[in-house]
């Protein structure tokens, strides 16, 4: 190929094709649809109907993003990616919320333990803090679910910073380990995790399934409100849906700007502290990094145990600590119906992950050859727009009943940016002199790439594929709105069962979903572990 096209033209072509496939065409459809659809109703009416939801959404987004950011910065010195993190990221969102509620809700297991220990006390509690449905509960669920992703990104970035060297210098200057971390590492890290942070913020703006389950509804979050309005069929609700989608985009932009402002303030403040701060004479030697994130292990375990027990119980009412009856046969009777869904889910996820992954690799290679090592935000554009707005635009343009290709395309659009983001750090940190040496030993460009780069980067490559796979498995809106008949998946089925609130059957599907992703992550980790 390189012989027919000069390298620069080849690079441009690769970029163009990737941009067309996963950015320009999907985005163009939505823009075209929205600009050709007449905007009904007045702004004032829409504001009075959706204004409260919009404010609440902005508030929840900023609070959760800021807290997740601080927690991730504090925890980024921990251990690098391991099986715990991967397992945790693999938990389907709704399953996680269900598992967590089972533990902490007012009639949850922890309250039942208290009830059992204090016979005087008459439960369940009537709290509106960790109630089954409140803004606070929603934020707890979102923070716990989003934090591992940002931690992972922060840790991956910290790996590529010369922290050891900085720390020696800082210690020589008398900084304590904690001050060193916050005053020297964090300012550098802040800039690097900017994009993942924005992705979390946008996700919070547009997430629907978690607010439906645990979020407030008087008023509800905006995406939740728009999602429900879209089911109604009068003209004025349709006008509200258009306005709501526009508000979602505005909130997304405002959140990102405010988070950028927060970063600026933090930088200033930390810089000020660094200039004026005290130092200790003899700094303590660096504390060994925490090896196992126990909190997350326990959380993941309790969510898993909750789902497993739920999937096998026949009845389990407050205040019983243990199910009152079992029905494990549910797994057997349900299996013939789960199997085709597993197949649908896996095929779709494997294909879209592979497409996304190959595109990400091609793009990163082209960028590396062009000496562009910066993470370019434009490639993550599809994660910067609320998903509801995108999928709604596609559905209204191409209709609700599409073939496999359209569905595959929609999934890949969302898998690609994650594959790119996950692989970016490791790919650009790769010392490319190895490739030149291989070339000088007589390998062709392809051979050098396959025989030298791939084996050295096999773990990040495998994890990027697993990440893309997990993103596809989790997609609800694109699947349900673009191809509900031809391609039901575990996720669409799980959501429709969840609408009936029977968590015994819901847990069977949630576990099947979780297992699908978990197996892929574990294969990626074990298959690429370093052999001594």
């Amino acid at each position: 190929m390189a012989t027919t096209l000069p390298p620069l033209a080849m690079h441009r072509l690769v970029r163009l094709v990737i941009a067309l496939m996963w950015l320009i065409i999907p985005l163009g459809v939505v823009v075209w649809h929205n600009s050709t659809t007449p905007f009904g109703g007045a702004l004032a009416g829409a504001l009075s109907a959706l204004g409260d939801s919009a404010w609440l959404t902005l508030l929840v987004t900023l609070t959760t993003s800021a807290l997740v950011l601080i927690a991730a910065l504090a925890g980024a010195g921990g251990k690098h990616l391991n099986a715990t993190w991967a397992s945790f990221i693999a938990v389907p969102h709704v399953a996680f919320a269900i598992g967590l509620l089972w533990l902490i809700s007012p009639s949850g297991w922890l309250v039942r333990v208290v009830d059992a220990l204090l016979p005087m006390w008459q439960g369940p509690i009537q709290s509106s803090w960790l109630s089954v449905k409140s803004t606070f509960t929603l934020m707890v669920v979102l923070i716990l679910k989003e934090l591992p992703f940002l931690l992972l990104m922060a840790q991956a970035n910290a790996q590529h910073m010369p922290i050891q060297r900085w720390q020696q210098q800082a210690q020589a200057l008398g900084y304590s380990r904690r001050r060193f971390w916050w005053l020297i590492v964090v300012p550098a890290l802040l800039k690097r995790i900017r994009l993942p942070l924005y992705i979390i913020a946008i996700y919070t703006v547009s997430v629907v399934d978690i607010p439906l389950l645990v979020g407030p509804n008087a008023p509800a979050l905006l995406a939740h409100e728009v999602y429900q309005l879209n089911w109604q069929f009068t003209d004025d609700t349709q006008a509200l849906v258009s306005w709501g989608s526009l508000f979602l985009v505005v909130i997304a932009v405002v959140s990102v700007l405010l988070l950028r402002g927060l970063e600026w303030v933090l930088q200033r403040w930390l810089g000020y502290l660094a200039l004026t701060g005290k130092r200790v004479r003899a700094a303590k030697s660096s504390v060994k990094r925490m090896t196992t994130p126990w909190f997350w292990v326990l959380l993941a375990m309790s969510v898993f145990i909750s789902l497993l027990l739920q999937s096998g119980q026949q009845s389990w009412f407050y205040p019983s600590l243990w199910p009152q009856g079992w029905q494990w046969s549910r797994w057997l009777t349900e299996w013939p119906y789960i199997a085709p869904l597993l197949y649908n889910t896996w095929i779709l996820a494997a294909l879209s992950a592979t497409l996304a992954w190959l595109s990400a690799i091609a793009l990163l290679e082209v960028q590396a050859q062009g000496q562009q090592h910066q993470l370019h935000g434009g490639w993550l554009a599809m994660l910067m727009i609320p998903q509801l707005v995108l999928v709604l635009g596609w559905q209204q343009t191409i209709g609700p009943d599409n073939g496999f290709i359209g569905l595959l395309w929609s999934h890949t659009v969302f898998c690609f940016p994650y594959a790119y983001l996950t692989l970016h750090g490791a790919y650009h940190a790769y010392p490319r002199r190895w490739l030149w040496q291989a070339r000088s030993l007589g390998y062709g460009p392809w051979a050098a790439w396959f025989k030298v780069l791939v084996p050295m980067l096999k773990r990040p490559l495998a994890l990027a594929w697993a990440m893309a796979f997990s993103i596809s498995v989790a997609q609800y809106l694109p699947t349900q709105w673009l191809a509900p008949v031809t391609h039901p998946t575990l996720t669409t089925e799980a959501v429709s069962i969840a609408s009936g609130g029977d968590w015994r059957l819901g847990s069977v599907y949630a576990l099947a979903q979780w297992a699908s992703v978990w197996i892929v992550f574990m294969l990626a980790l074990w298959g690429t572990r370093a052999r001594n």
């Binding site: 409260d52 009639s107 439960g123 369940p124 009537q126 509106s128 109630s131 089954v132 449905k133 409140s134 439906l212 389950l213 407030p216 509804n217 008087a218 008023p219 879209n230 089911w231 109604q232 069929f233 009068t234 026949q314 009845s315 009412f317 407050y318 205040p319 009856g325 029905q327 299996w335 013939p336 119906y337 789960i338 199997a339 085709p340 597993l342 197949y343 896996w346 209709g399 609700p400 009943d401 509900p484 008949v485 039901p488 669409t492 089925e493 959501v495 429709s496 069962i497 969840a498 609408s499 009936g500 609130g501 029977d502 968590w503 015994r504 059957l505 197996i519 294969l523 074990w526 298959g527």
Partner: protein, 361 residues
């Protein structure tokens, strides 16, 4: 690692339905129906199995809310062959002229139980466009010791709420159980019921609903979380009721007081109590969209669903337990509740809007 892959492949292949074995290609019927109730899903699975020898592949397309499909049908973008609807959804489809006349052609009218007044769907004449499938009656599931009587008036409910603050709730309208809760209160508070069967344009709706809003102003602070949040669905409320966070949960199936106990969804001893002197009753229907690609097969499916065997199976308390629409006697099912006529469909949107303007903020 290889073995894991092999095992997974083997398992997944074993589980696949083998469609290829059927003689000739069966006709697919895409049946769009709410997918939230495992007992209903199991019933539709059973029906699909029974229909396969007749050359029909009944595919249950599970939706979280049937309104999703109604909107697609109105927009002219749907592949649904058969839908499960009533009330507002039927009204919208009838208005948009999206349904195929089927009832007369199927020739089942004589076998239907006319006492159910299925001829009118929320005050809207069925007009040959849909076929009754089952019956709904609105009441509250409640704990064994909460209420002594088997029906309570709006005033008694308020009294109970004052004694037990935070123990009563209703799903947030426009969720239909929530809206029906409001209707029941309105019936109980008004002396009359005839007026509510008329379209709102024909009556003084503002004056008629005044007692309801005055009542709700008193009830609201006594609700779960002081009325600051609501259950999103009847299903959610049912789970909270089952775990003693609430004392009531709404239901639209008069047999559910038995089936839910059988299924282990609510504790034994759960009772049913009617809100007001009678339960608001309606039917739910099957309809075939004009745009259906397989109308003949869809009619076959309706015929099957209305057969005595299928209706008996549907009413079976070990499964779904939905009352039959046929004029047949069923043993062992709880008696139907005294019935109150459903409101005219135009009240639905009116009550929802009025409620929304007053309460959620």
């Amino acid at each position: 690692m290889k073995y894991v892959f092999l095992l997974l492949t083997a398992i997944s292949i074993m589980g696949f339905p083998t469609n290829s074995s059927a003689r000739g290609k069966p006709t697919s019927v895409y049946f769009y129906a709410w997918g939230g109730n495992p007992a209903v899903n199991d019933y539709i699975r059973w029906a699909a199995k029974e229909l396969r020898p007749k050359g029909i592949q009944l595919q249950h397309v599970k939706v979280a809310d049937i309104a999703e499909v109604v909107k697609q049908l109105v927009d002219g973008q749907s592949n649904a062959d058969l839908i499960w609807i009533n009330g507002e959804n039927f009204h919208a489809l009838k208005e948009a002229d999206r349904l195929m006349p089927v009832l007369t052609e199927l020739n089942i009218k004589d076998r239907l139980n006319d006492q159910l007044s299925w001829q009118s769907d929320f005050g809207e004449p069925v007009a040959d466009l849909e076929v009754p499938w089952g019956v709904g009656q609105f009441y509250l599931l409640t704990c064994a010791t909460c209420f002594a009587a088997d029906h309570i008036s709006a005033a008694e409910l308020l009294e109970y709420a004052a004694e037990h603050p935070g123990r009563i709730a209703y799903p947030k309208p426009p969720e239909f159980h929530g809206t029906t809760f409001l209707k029941s209160l309105l019936l109980s508070l008004s002396e009359q019921d005839e007026v509510f069967r008329k379209p709102i344009e024909a009556v003084d709706a503002a004056k008629l609903t005044e007692p309801l809003w005055a009542y709700l102003d008193e009830l609201q602070p006594l609700l779960w979380q002081g009325g600051e949040n609501y259950p999103s669905s009847a299903a959610q409320q049912l789970n909270w009721f089952a775990n003693k966070q609430l004392d009531v949960a709404p239901s639209f199936n008069p047999n559910e007081v038995k089936t839910l106990v059988n299924q282990g969804r609510v504790p034994a001893g759960t009772k049913r109590v009617t809100l007001g002197s009678a339960a608001i009753s309606n039917s739910h229907y099957l309809a075939i969209p004009e745009s259906s690609g397989h109308p003949q097969a869809a009619k076959q499916v309706i015929k099957f669903f209305l057969s005595e065997a299928a209706q008996r199976k549907k009413a079976d308390l070990s499964g779904w337990g939905d009352p039959t629409v046929l004029d047949i006697a069923l043993l062992d099912t709880p008696a139907m509740l005294p019935a109150a006529a459903e409101f005219h469909v135009s009240w639905q949107a009116y009550l929802e809007q009025q409620w929304q303007q007053r309460y959620p903020r």
